[in-house]
């Protein structure tokens, strides 16, 4: 019989993943555990194995598409003789071409002439979203020059004039004296032949927009590519992409308050959008705008991106999931943790000898006796000796959470970006074991076999860029951890022995830490201890 193969649950808070590669085709015989597809989530790439044996009858997924947990990916014919007809669109083999007359639906979608410029009320100042119109200084039909004052406004803070940014003729005045205008709202329509008016059309090339947007939008790249004009009669209604699942009254309400209904998530059955959903979305937009415009609550004003193609050719690529998550995570970590980076150098001349001597031991266990492997063990001991580095901060509750276990993450560079697999209970493993585990987990990461669990639960992170080079860097703490150790390239330096200069192999280390719970002295001590342990390995067992 024909069985549906559905995408299994992927992990906490993960509802969907991108299908990066489909590994089977119709007719393939598949075995249990055989990988059927490669997927990528926010956190990692993974393979999905089959849980049954059979022959692929239908492939219902496509590379590049998103799949949700529970979604049917394949139809597999298994051993049983009875075959169940799968649900599909019944097609009549000779369905005629649809001439325009009969199409029951229509979508009008013309955007305005390219010469009309929507002049929007520009930013007026920090946290100012609207202003009162005290005096309109032009009338319809007037010719205005760039920088000429169009209107006088009053905000909480001041009175000001708003100048035009184009030359042209005022076609329509969309505000009136005594009314309120919102930042971002179209207040004048000016007919202009200026070629570099940045936003010379209604913002969106999409089919639904009304020209007014009273809710200020998050900064968007102004579009300058010509808006394609389609005759209203030619376009067929695409229910999925244009008409949102909302009653007509709800769609109208959304339009009236300036919300793009297609962006609202419906909480009703089948994703139906209610008025409440629209209100909730509007509210969240306002909150986001406030926090976005205040740079995550730190009083930073966002700067919209310029149109780079003004200066030359550009190529726009979408971010993959790993990059996106990395970007978001690091922005947060950087903004919320007061970073200090402490630099030091360890004399590893003798350690190098030890590495060469015992290298084979590690190899026979499946690993390499690298500086990273050794530092893993040293760091574990250091975390024991300096417990405030093995903790997390809870500012909301004014608490420090000390961890009694020691898991350390190791940054691995893959072709999809940076991931940090975690080695658990480092203190309970010896260096040989750690070296082997490190080799295994790095291979796993590069082979896209990392699971979500592998990436979670770390207390501290080590990032080794020495293989590539460099004399030092300022790593970003992997929130919610409080410290991160960066390793750069060791090199021979002359050290004064007291009587002469001798060449010693020095390894630069960079320790970034969260200054909210780690003070400078502790930072220096922690790093110094690590350097000492590298120089005198016995310190690990003595004090660690």
């Amino acid at each position: 019989m024909v069985v549906e193969f559905r995408l299994p649950e992927l992990g906490e808070n993960i509802t969907s993943a991108d299908i990066t590669k489909v590994l089977v085709k119709v007719g393939d015989k598949i075995k249990k555990e055989q990988p059927l597809a490669e997927l990528e989530t926010d956190k990692a790439s993974m393979e999905i194995p089959s849980d049954i044996e059979g022959v692929v009858k239908e492939v219902k997924m496509k590379e590049g598409e998103k799949a949700s947990a529970g979604q049917v990916l394949l139809l597999i014919e298994t051993e049983s003789s009875e075959s169940v007809p799968a649900l599909s669109v019944k097609t009549d083999s000779d369905a005629a071409e649809i001439p325009q007359e009969i199409k029951p639906a229509l979508s009008a979608n013309n955007d305005k002439v390219s010469k009309l410029y929507n002049f929007k009320l520009p930013e007026l100042g920090e946290n100012i979203s609207k202003a009162s119109v005290t005096k309109i200084l032009v009338k319809e039909g007037d010719f205005v020059k760039k920088d000429q004052a169009l209107v006088e406004l009053e905000t909480d803070k001041a009175s000001m004039e708003v100048p035009s940014d184009v030359n042209g003729i005022v076609k329509q005045i969309k505000i009136s004296e005594g009314s309120t205008a919102n930042v971002g709202e179209i207040i004048f329509i000016i007919e202009t032949s200026d070629s570099d008016s940045a936003e010379n059309k209604t913002d969106s090339a999409k089919k639904i927009d009304s020209p007014q947007k009273p809710v200020p939008e998050a900064p968007a790249l102004p579009k300058t590519e010509p808006v394609k004009k389609e005759a209203a009669n030619e376009a067929a209604l695409e229910t999925k992409s244009i008409i949102a699942p909302a009653a007509p009254s709800v769609r109208r309400f959304a339009r009236e308050i300036g919300i793009k209904i297609n962006n609202v998530r419906g909480s009703g059955p089948g994703g139906r959008i209610s008025i409440e959903d629209v209100k909730k979305y509007a509210k969240s937009l306002n909150e986001n705008i406030e926090s976005a415009s205040s740079g995550g609550g730190f009083g930073i004003k966002t700067e919209p991106l310029p149109d780079f193609s003004k200066w030359g050719e550009t190529d726009i690529q979408p971010m993959n999931n790993v990059r996106k998550k990395t970007a978001e995570h690091l922005s947060y970590a950087w903004a919320s943790i007061p970073h200090v980076t402490q630099f030091d150098k360890a004399d590893i001349t003798e350690l190098e000898e030890i590495r060469k001597q015992y290298g084979k031991l590690a190899e026979s266990a499946g690993g390499k006796l690298t500086v990273t492997a050794i530092l893993l063990k040293i760091a574990a001991s250091a975390l024991k000796k300096f417990p405030q580095f093995n903790a997390s901060v809870n500012m909301a509750g004014n608490e420090i959470i000390y961890k009694k276990y020691i898991n350390i993450g190791v940054a691995v560079d893959t072709d999809r970006g940076l991931i940090v697999p975690v080695i658990r209970n480092v203190d309970k493993k010896n260096i040989i074991e750690l070296a082997a585990e490190l080799a295994e987990i790095s291979k796993k990461a590069r082979d896209k076999k990392i699971t979500l669990e592998d990436l979670q639960g770390g207390n501290f992170t080590i990032s080794n860029l020495g293989g590539i080079g460099g004399t030092g860097f300022t790593p970003i703490v992997n929130a919610p951890e409080v410290a991160i150790l960066g390793i750069s390239r060791g090199s021979y330096e002359p050290k004064y022995s007291g009587s002469e200069f001798i060449p010693r192999l020095m390894l630069p280390l960079s320790l970034s830490y969260d200054h909210r719970i780690i003070d400078g002295a502790d930072g220096a001590r922690f790093l110094r201890w690590i350097c000492s342990a590298l120089e005198q390995p016995i310190l690990m067992s003595l004090e660690g």
Binding site: D92, A96, I98, Q100, I102, L106, K112, I208, T239, G258
Partner: protein, 470 residues
Amino acid sequence: MNKIKLAVLGAGPGGYTAAFLAADLGMDVTLIDLNKNPGGVCLHVGCIPSKALLHVAKLLEETKHAKKWGIDFGDPKIDIDGVRAFKDKVVAKLTGGTGQLVKQRKINYIQGRGQFLNPNTIKVEKTDGTIEEVQFDKAILATGSEPVRIPGLWIDSPRMIDSTGALELKDIPAKMLVIGGGIIGLEMANVYSSLSTKVSVVEMMPQLVPGADKDLIDILTRSLKPRLGSILLETKVVKIEEISEGLKVTFEGEKLNEPAQIFDKVLMAIGRRPVTKGLGLENTSVKFSEKGFVQVNSQLLTDDLNIYAIGDIVGNPMLAHKASAEGKIAVEAIAGHKVAFEPAAIPSVVYTDPEVAWAGVTENEALKKGLNVEIHKFPWAAIGRAVTMDRTDGMTKLIVEKDTERIIGVAMVGQGAGELIAEGTLAVEMAATAKDMALTIHAHPTISETMMETAEMVWGLSTSIYRPKK
């Protein structure tokens, strides 16, 4: 605040609906049309007269059908003048009625031919010979459409008619050819065949009402076939000549029995085109598409900031109710409301007997776009009411989105489909799910129950049909 001066050019369903709403919203409205009363093609020579005649046709068919139920009416005496008078009375009543509404709303109605002199002025050549210039702030263009004539085939003869001529019902021809198996052609074929004309329908495409879902049209065709002389599909008309016996029509097609036939009348119903010439639009910034429709945005605003356009001149579907819906949006846009014309579904109806009606996504569309849908069909033979009416030539079809179980398309064929489709249109607009439809109690015994039962088929739980889901 000064009243907005609105000029509406064309008083069909689009124009007069817009004019009435505009007046209700306090605008100063001038309505210009060639006819004495509003109504346009729809009321005068379209929707209304055809439905009046189809009503007569339905009665005639039902009386014939009654023989099966033990009632024999014999052969009816058809007084064609009486039938025509009924139709004319209906038209007069309704056009008079809209004329009354114009007066009640104090709309300035000008009977004449309008032309734009510039984006603020329309010059009207009135029927009394005088000229009047109408100044406006905003204008709505609603000049509608006209039947297409194939220049090589059309013959200037009283035997050659278009839909307007067909509705005049000058006489009952013994043998008539309808060129074009679309909605208008079929409705006229339906009317004349019940009046005892031997009607043949010739259509270029492989099915009647090309573009509509085949399963619906199959049921319609099966019902129509015994009443019509012949249905020639995948056939073209290549020549029409007038001879003493009538119009000799030469066909071209693979499945022909006779390459040429003689008819008393030939009705050309191959489509309609927008009326945009001779309106002075070159004196405005209004622009057209390749197909000749007026280009508008979702507020129905043309490329001229003062002029809006609605109805048949902006595109398909050329339906009266689309025009009036657009008219309302255009007026609201002029009034400064934040609106857009974006319906989720516009119903289409073929008013033949049996009727065909659909709204939202059709099966053809779902296929073309590769939508992930389930299609459920319920044959009316399984529903009580259809059996009581002895009219089981019908089917209800629901197109349901698989992931969300949302109803995105509804279609039906059968008696009364045109009225029943309203529930479907509402369901699609409200983003109803199949569950909503299945859980709504529908009266028994009615045809409307088929909507509920078709929805139940989504889970294999339809009462009247045993089709368990596997």
